[in-house]
């Protein structure tokens, strides 16, 4: 297992602050610069370069979907919501953008550093979870293929249980996932009208 250094190397990271010119922007920029980040503030739209940002801070009070060069909730980097008015509709909107951390306005002398670390960690956790779900969904989608492969194998006179065990052995021998082995069995079956054991690797 490799160890991840906990010294958060934020030096040189790029942050975009999407907020109309305001004292809050200066307060955020000051803290970001002190921590060592390069800051760009913009309003009313995030420029294309924001796609390469490491962090995006966005205003919730006056924000709207068209400001972002990505679909709602699909930011490719950690985002931090800047919340002034706690109107429920605005919070709902911030939630729809899946902000990874928040900072309450007015912004004072502190808060940005913890927001950066929290946003980075929750973004990484969210992304890892999403990747796992995608992988699991792909496996679930292959259920039918497995059923077809087991059926093809059992057509040679073994029962379902034995056929399934055989499929697992094939997957092991081919060093592929069960789903991939099933796809191969189905493909061979379809090509030759039956699965011939001589194809066993």
């Amino acid at each position: 297992m490799s160890r991840v250094s906990h010294i958060p190397n934020l030096g040189g990271a790029k942050a975009f602050v999407l907020h109309r010119p305001h004292a809050n922007v200066s307060a955020i920029s000051r803290q970001l610069a002190a921590i060592g980040l390069a800051v760009t503030d913009c309003w009313p739209e995030l420029p294309a370069e924001a796609l390469a940002a490491d962090f995006v801070f966005f205003d919730v009070d006056l924000g709207f979907d068209q400001q972002f060069p990505w679909p709602r909730g699909a930011a490719p980097m950690p985002t931090i919501a800047l919340i002034g008015s706690e109107a429920p509709g605005r919070i709902e909107w911030a939630l729809s953008h899946k902000a990874d951390a928040q900072l309450l306005k007015p912004v004072g002398n502190a808060g940005v550093y913890s927001a950066l670390l929290i946003a980075r960690q929750s973004f990484a956790a969210r992304r890892q979870l999403a990747d796992e779900i995608t992988a699991l969904q792909q496996r679930v989608a292959e259920r039918q293929t497995i059923v077809r492969a087991v059926a093809a194998l059992s057509s040679q006179g073994v029962d379902d249980e034995r056929a399934y065990a055989q499929l697992r052995t094939l997957a092991m021998n081919w060093q592929v996932s069960l789903e991939e082995a099933a796809r191969r069995v189905v493909a061979l079956t379809e090509k030759e009208g039956g699965f011939d054991q001589s194809h066993r690797a």
Binding site: R30, A34, N109
Partner: protein, 366 residues
């Protein structure tokens, strides 16, 4: 006619870390009297003093009292990070600034504070970079039970791992606790390559004494094999440690040159003196300068101080300082190494493992 300007002085003249606080107090008072005696300075500083007596709950009320009962907008004071964090809300409310002249654990850049002593890239990082190749990378971490010890040891854990070493133990004592027998037993059992000492005051003195005793029975624990490393130990505390300290290492922006009679006695005194020197320059330029005026005044400026020529980074309000590693020799330090003008990096944003410890560790891929 010099204009008279009041400034706050907030140090605990009694309590478990009084030696450090008194060193800071001496530096502040000496600088104030030197500024006042200097016909060229143009200002006269009036010290408004308060003494929290080592009681953490007295800092905020006494700082508030200084700012309400006098015209002071600048306070020189606080030794522990805990007390600094206690007064920050008062400074923010009153629009005042604190000149903080002690080493601290970093990860702060408040616009109401000017950080005039070392942060981790100016103390812990260079000290471990010096020690690891010479003594080894496995460390035992000690601290007093508050933010300085916790955070400094947290950074040390990462540095030790980056250097390919192991943390063999990490122990904390309440401030003022002098029973160190358990720590000594654990250190004896784990046999580290060095000990990082973030204990403060009486706990630290008790530890040095007990460790010297251990070295008498087991030479592995002599300073030439397994040194005690401190990031905040200065001449101010050596009388309380005496011969038990000999050979162990510390780091700071200044150690006293024993040949110079009138040199400040420690980096605490020198940094506090330098703080008042810089503050006097600021107030001579603009007697009404408050915290908000500081970044503009610091930009593109450097100051001749007792710490040498120093600059203050307008973005973080931390000082660019020399970094000196010293070896305890009686009541002073022998210089081991000195690096000039180390720019502050309070968030370790520019920390580079390879630059600090040489080539990267070999990784086991699994």
């Amino acid at each position: 006619m010099k204009s008279r300007i009041e400034i706050g002085v907030l140090y605990s003249r009694s309590g478990s870390y009084q030696l450090v606080a008194n060193a800071c107090h001496a530096g502040a008072m000496r600088a104030i009297s030197d500024v006042n005696a200097d016909p060229a300075s143009g200002i006269e500083l009036i010290a408004i003093e308060r003494d929290p007596g080592g009681n953490i709950d007295r800092y905020a009320p006494l700082c508030d009292e200084i700012l309400r009962q006098s015209s002071a907008r600048h306070v020189v004071g606080a030794v522990t990070s805990w007390s600094r964090k206690e007064v920050i809300p008062v400074l923010e409310k009153s629009g005042a600034a604190l000149w903080y002249a002690c080493p601290y654990e970093g990860f702060e850049a408040n616009e109401h504070v000017v950080y005039m002593h070392a942060c981790p890239n100016q103390h812990l990082v260079p000290l471990l970079a010096h020690v690891v190749p010479r003594f080894g990378a496995d460390g035992f971490l000690l601290g007093s039970n508050y933010i300085w010890g916790w955070e400094t040891n947290r950074v040390a854990r990462d540095l030790i791992a980056d250097a390919g070493g192991k943390v063999l133990g990490e122990r904390y004592l309440p401030i003022g606790e002098a029973d160190v027998s358990r720590l000594i037993a654990e250190i004896k059992a784990t046999r580290p390559a060095f000990i990082l000492n973030n204990l403060i005051g009486t706990s630290s003195y008790a530890f040095f004494a007990a460790y010297a005793e251990l070295a008498r029975t087991d030479p592995h624990f002599g300073p030439e094999n397994c040194p005690i490393l401190s990031c905040n130990l200065t001449e101010a505390e050596l009388p309380a440690i005496s011969e038990a300290g000999r050979g162990h290492l510390s780091v700071g922006p200044y150690f006293r040159d024993q040949a110079q009679d009138d040199a400040p006695a420690s980096s605490f005194e020198a940094s506090t003196y330098a703080s008042v020197q810089v503050l006097a320059k600021v107030l001579a330029t603009d007697p009404s300068a408050g915290f908000a005026a500081l970044p503009a005044l610091f930009r593109n400026t450097s100051y001749q101080t007792l710490l040498g020529e120093i600059a203050i980074d307008p973005q973080t309000q931390h000082a660019t300082l020399p970094v000196e590693i010293g070896r305890i020799a009686g009541l002073g330090f022998e210089r081991v190494s000195r690096t000039e003008r180390m720019a502050p990096d309070p968030y370790l944003s520019r920390y580079d493992r390879t630059e600090t410890f040489g080539r990267p560790r070999l990784k086991v891929v699994s």
